[in-house]
C-alpha cells in the first residue's frame, strides 16, 4: 500500500534541513518550504521536502506505527 512517513525537523542549515525518523536522520533540501521551523513534521520526495504535516497528525500517526 501507499504510505508516507513524516520526518521531524531537528536542524536547519540554510536551504538544508536534518530530519529525524527515529532510527535514523537524513539531510534533505528545504527550498520549497520557507520559514521551516525546528519541530515541524514534513514529507520528502527525491530528497526534497515537498509538504508539511500538522504536528498533531504526525505525532499521532508515528505513535501508531
Amino acid at each position: 500500500m501507499c504510505l508516507a512517513i513524516p520526518g521531524k525537523v531537528i536542524k536547519i542549515d540554510g536551504e538544508q534541513a536534518t530530519l529525524d525518523y527515529g532510527e535514523e536522520q537524513r539531510v534533505v533540501g528545504a527550498q520549497f518550504t520557507p520559514n521551516l521551523k525546528i519541530g515541524e513534521y514534513v514529507l520528502v520526495q527525491a530528497k526534497m521536502i515537498v509538504q508539511r504535516v500538522p504536528k498533531e497528525q504526525a505525532e499521532k500517526f508515528l505513535e501508531s506505527l
Binding site: M1, L3, F32
Partner: protein, 177 residues
Amino acid sequence: MNAQQLFLRYAYSCGEVQRDCFQDITPEELERIKQMALGDEKFDEAFVRDKYPAAFERMQRKMKLSTISTEEEIDSYFLLAHNEAIEEREGNYSKLPDDICEYCKAKVVQVVERIDKLPGTWYKVTPFGNEVVHQEAVHGEFVDDAEPGELVVIHQGVVVRKISEEYYTKIKQKYAR
C-alpha cells in the same frame, strides 16, 4: 509509454517510501523499477507483483483486472479505485492521518510553473477541480516537459503523466458505470 510503464510510474513513489522506511525494497530493486518505468529494462511482472501485492490484489478485487493491460485501466485504478480505498480507510489506511491520506492519493493537478533553480525537474502545481493539494512542489521524475496550464497526474509528490480533461472525464464516467 505502455500500460506497464504507467503502472510503475504510479508505483515508483510508493517504492521510495518502502525503501526508505520499511526496507521492503532495496535501492537496487527501486532502481530496477525506475528503469522498467522508463522503458530501459524489460517489464518483469512476477517481480513487480512481488513488490506491489496490495495494488494487484485491489485491482483484481475492485476492477476485476488480473493483469496490467491498458493505460486507461491503470489510470482508472490509481485515480479512482485506489483513491476510493484510501477514502474508505481500507486496511492500513485506517491509521493514516488526513493530510498523509491526501498525499497518498493520485490526483489531477494543474501546472503553475516550472522551478528552475534546482537540479532535476520540479513544478509548482495548483488543485484542479475539487482536489486538495498540500504539496509545495512535485518532482518531474518522469515528465520534464509540462507547461504552465497543463494538467498532470501526481502521486506522492511525483508527476506520473500529462492528462487531458477529456480523458479524465472519460475514465471517471467509465469507472462509475
